[in-house]
């Protein structure tokens, strides 16, 4: 049914908007450079990335289900799933890898560039997921 196939695209923006809001709040509330503010910023950004990751995993599951359901043959389904997994998803996974690694680096450092880099990486992956899922704030 068309409604069902479109459905995952309708869910994703809610997840991602929530995650993005948390990250933006964290950035705005904790833009100064004291140790506690830095810790709070890193933690809030980390929670946002985790939320985006878990939301993306749910979207991925339902997106693959929709691909499977729309296939007219086994071969067509396999090809469509492979295209999604190999052409679209890797960029998102790489974005999460960068976000987590830069957050970990920022947590063990005390300089501004590492903190800004971590927040930027988090926002980048959230934006990338929004672009893939068709979500918009």
């Amino acid at each position: 049914m068309p409604e069902f196939r479109r459905f995952p695209r309708a869910v994703a923006p809610h997840i991602l908007l929530t995650a993005a809001l948390v990250a933006v709040y964290a950035l705005v509330l904790s833009s100064a450079c004291s140790r506690s503010q830095r810790t709070d910023t890193i933690h809030a950004t980390f929670v946002a990335v985790n939320g985006a990751r878990d939301g993306f995993a749910v979207w991925d599951k339902n997106h693959q289900h929709a691909i499977m359901e729309s296939a007219r043959s086994r071969e067509e389904g396999r090809d469509a799933l492979a295209r999604y997994r190999e052409a679209q998803r890797p960029a998102i996974v790489e974005g999460f890898v960068v976000a987590y690694q830069t957050l970990a680096a920022a947590a063990t450092a005390s300089d501004d560039p590492s903190l800004k880099g971590a927040v930027a990486a988090a926002m980048h992956v959230i934006d990338a997921v929004k672009a893939l899922t068709g979500g918009a704030p």
């Binding site: 409604e3 509330l29 904790s30 929670v47 939301g55 693959q64 296939a71 996974v93 957050l103």
Partner: protein
Amino acid sequence: MTTKDAQRIMAIASSWLGAGETLAKAAASLLGARTEQQVVTYLETVIAIVDSIAAGLDGHADVESANDHIQTLNDLLAANDRQADADLDSRFPAGP
């Protein structure tokens, strides 16, 4: 109340405001949901995001264990792949 306490409260409020917004949108969307699968998907999504936020706010999440979090993502996606492949095989069984 210290500045840190205030920031933490604001961070929690902001997070739950976001979760609340998600829940509100999900509830509104449920009214227009047309299939049982849609309802299940909404609930799965809401539970995932709220669980994730709650775990982070409870301090269970370790920011520095990047590899663990990346592995969690890879595990989730691998499970999704296996499920989709199995569903496809079930829908189009191989011939004799």
